[in-house]
Symmetry: C2
Subunit: 527 residues, 2 copies
């Protein structure tokens, strides 16, 4: 059941007077539920509760946190088909996507449960004392990761499960030992409330402290701003637009005590088409690019919004094939009329720039929120000089840039803003001749892909989902994969601390059996 | 020989017209050398050269970087006694300290050489492909650390060797593969130039690219500001005051592309005196505190500027003993008249607050830049209410706070700003009864010390030198120890990349023999 209320810890609450509804883009109509935006008192309560919860939650064992995370996963599954229905009603995404994304969300929760249950993630590092060292004795020092405190998570529009209420940011922060306050995404507040109810149920079943999790409704920016400015909030996770992410980053930096903000923001994910690849496989790559550009109505942060080729007959063939392939695909529904509207206006802005030609554009359909895909093309020279063309158009849209030669190609890559991904389509050994291209691309992205398109983000230890600004606000971290837990922890040293008072991870006996660096040797042995 | 010029890469250059001299605080007179502040053209050249150098330097092997770092250490030693003379003339610090700090600097350079030569620090992580996975094939993903780009290092006033030109920030950034531009500290520009000459010589001997290192003179803030705002600069390391560090942090955050700033700033390093410890060992702890407060004229970032006790007869005895012990120690020379002047005015500011009593103050000596140590005391209630008393006084100074009870002690600790260290002096098993004190202190510091004073920072893998703001600008990193390399690198993923085109660290054969996480198992095996 959806109540439209906020979860302030385990209490449902709606003391505010601002209400809003979510929207069904497929039906082009409001959904029935009414949500009450969190009031200042509710925000204050959530933050105070979280701050108190931190004192005990930070001491939870890996096993306890794992139990909590796995129970969240179970409780989400226990919501059954009803949850999938609400997801579809609030996002316009198809049922298969809902199921797949739920699976990924469950998978993430369980992966973090495994990580903290095993325990070595704390990077325990021990240097034992040398009392008779000259000229000075060496003290005993032991280091491990420790959680930062309350984390505020801003749910994303395009992943109502995997990057929202109990998505990657929340799972990694809870795994780290940080209480989480979710600023629910207004487009899927009902999905958010249902998932929040699962987290709350899990917290209660596993005896987590009251306030370890709260879920706040919000249709504007006030709730988010108040949260980020609150002195008891210690870190922020955000997935969304550059404008939104940068605003939060700036707010956090202006606090008396600045706090880290990890914002995963815009990316146009350049795909470099090397000549031989197009010569051999123009049709194959055209079909692959068309599929990637239109996947999920182009509403992925890894959507390939930029294709870079060098002028040739093969590039001509590829362009023609791309026009054919992209028109074979039926348009699909966007998440919300506001996203559709932005798509239309950004699309028009870029289309109206000097020197732009249209490669293909799907005719407008009768369905109100369905995005017609579009491919533009432009010369390297014009692209290089017009930063408007470097902007992300969130939707099924891409620009094919025709470079004069490799030098211009490299110049373009070097001038790009930071990107989540960069792809190179090449024949066997072809990249040997394009070392400068590969080097330049590597310096602008977080993940580089050989003969593949950027859509599809594998959740595994070696994934990097982040990159130079503005694809993320801090390229030293990743939003996806177990490494994302490092955003919420800090190293902490104990000097000459009594063995039986140390956290188990640092005790001589190594009761957790974790892998540790002891006097420069990685080992699971006791001391 | 000291020329007073800047090193723009390997070129000595002095195109500007602003000059300054360093000062000998022991002699209370200017040193003879004249330094020319870097001009805007020189700054631009240094940054452009560094940016070009990055393209090749980032690909240097661990062995090559290790050779460079070890050669820097050798070249510093080759400067011999002359370097120590200049250090003493520019800092007023004694010869023994100069030698000790040189040893630490050499040690740091060699530790980073060992780290990158061994190679496992890149955290190579490999998930191999599963082509027949359903519903989707799993791609091959391989992750490792990659350098950020040009790093600007701001030398510190109080460590002319270990936290300046070729100190911890520079050593860690070069080890990471980042070119370094040092904004030399104006108080020891001659020491800086000599050490820079050693770095340049080493770069030439080991065939490092021109521009991998530059050293810029500066007496004001302009050079630093220009560097931090430069689009080609990618990260900043700073050791110094809260005011200076925060200014740079704010500047970096306001850039079109914000960049990370690691600033290690102020700390008053609270020392908690538990009752039983004072009852048993008031004299011992009084002598230890007196020594730590006055060490190096109190000019350490780990100086114990705050002592917290609970009212008792033992605390009275400790206070009386501290007064005796602190006056046994002869004052010593501060680094510079400006630092001496700041010490005097901050000391007077805190001394003039309501409710303050003087425990002991060494009489003013005739030596112009010698700081007389001072200990104040105040009630917990007054300390809690007056934030002026929480300020760092850089020098041989400390406040002893007399708390009513444990509750007040905890309240004070919770209200403190972030600190580099926190110490607890206790008898065996005494801390069992003070869990709240320990927990509260842990949440405010980067390193917690049992029965020891904070001065003395061991350089080893398990050291954390950093902490919650404002002791550092980002508690997720450390300034000391090999972990400090993580400030300058970002994770980077290769997807389906051809094995022979991967960096050696990620190739199937594991030619470097490093420890890697392969399909979730930590191993040195090949694939």
């Amino acid at each position: 059941m959806i109540t439209g209320k906020n979860y302030i810890g385990c209490q449902l609450s709606a003391s505010g007077d601002k209400t809003f509804k979510t929207f069904n883009p497929q039906e082009n109509t409001d959904n029935s539920w009414q949500f009450t935006e969190a009031s200042n008192e509710e925000i204050e309560s959530a933050v105070t509760l979280a701050s108190k919860a931190f004192l005990t939650f930070q001491k939870s064992t890996g096993k306890e946190k794992a139990f909590f995370l796995r129970t969240i996963a179970d409780e989400i599954l226990a919501l059954g088909d009803n949850l999938l229905d609400v997801y579809c009603q609030e996002s316009g995404l198809p049922r298969g996507r809902a199921e797949g994304e739920r699976g990924r969300t469950i998978g993430q929760l369980n992966a973090f449960a495994d990580l903290v249950e095993e325990g070595s993630w704390v990077e325990a590092t021990i240097d034992t004392a040398i009392p008779d060292r000259v000229p000075l004795p060496k003290v005993d020092l032991r280091k491990m990761k420790r959680p930062l405190g309350t984390v505020v998570v801003f749910g994303s529009s395009n992943f109502p499960f995997a990057y929202s209420t109990a998505g990657g940011d929340t799972a990694s922060a809870l795994a780290a030992g940080c209480p989480v306050i979710v600023k629910s995404h207004p487009m899927h507040a009902g999905t958010g409330e249902m998932v929040a109810s699962a987290v709350i149920k899990a917290a209660q079943k596993t005896n987590m402290p009251e306030g370890v999790f709260s879920n706040l409704n919000s249709s504007g920016i006030e709730v988010g701003v108040t949260l980020v400015k609150h002195p008891l909030v210690k870190a922020v996770g955000f997935t969304g637009s550059i404008k939104g992410g940068r605003s939060l980053y700036d707010l956090a930096g202006q606090r008396e005590e600045p706090i880290p903000v990890f914002a995963e923001m815009g990316s146009i994910n350049p795909v470099v088409l090397l000549p031989e690849a197009l010569k051999q496989n123009a049709e194959k790559w055209a079909a692959a690019c068309a599929g990637s550009v239109t996947l999920g109505a182009g509403q992925f942060c890894t959507n390939p919004g930029l294709m870079l080729g060098i002028k040739s007959d093969a590039l001509k063939t590829f362009t023609e094939q791309l026009a054919v392939e992209i028109l074979k695909i039926s348009p699909s529904c966007m998440l919300n009329p506001s996203i559709y509207k932005n798509y239309q206006s950004n699309n028009e802005l870029l289309s109206s720039q000097n020197g732009i030609e249209v490669v293909a554009e799907y005719a407008k359909t009768d369905n109100p929120n369905y995005a017609s895909q579009k491919i533009l093309t432009v010369s390297g020279k014009i692209f290089l000089e017009n930063p408007v063309l470097h902007r992300e158009v969130f939707g099924p849209f891409s620009i094919l840039v025709q470079c004069e030669d490799e030098i211009e190609l490299v110049a373009i890559i070097e001038k790009l803003e930071g990107q989540l991904t960069g792809s190179i389509l090449a024949e066997e050994n072809e990249i040997e001749n394009y070392e400068e291209v590969v080097d330049a691309l590597g310096n602008r992205v977080g993940r580089i892909i050989f003969n593949g398109l950027p859509t599809g983000v594998e959740v595994c230890p070696s994934m990097v989902h982040g990159g130079p600004y503005p694809s993320s606000s801090d390229s030293r971290f990743t939003a996806v994969g177990i490494g994302s837990i490092k955003r919420w922890v800090r190293p902490f040293s104990y000097q000459n601390w009594p063995n039986n008072k140390l956290p188990e991870a640092l005790q001589n006996e190594n009761p957790l059996g974790i892998s540790r660096l002891v006097n420069n040797v990685q080992t699971r042995d006791s001391i």
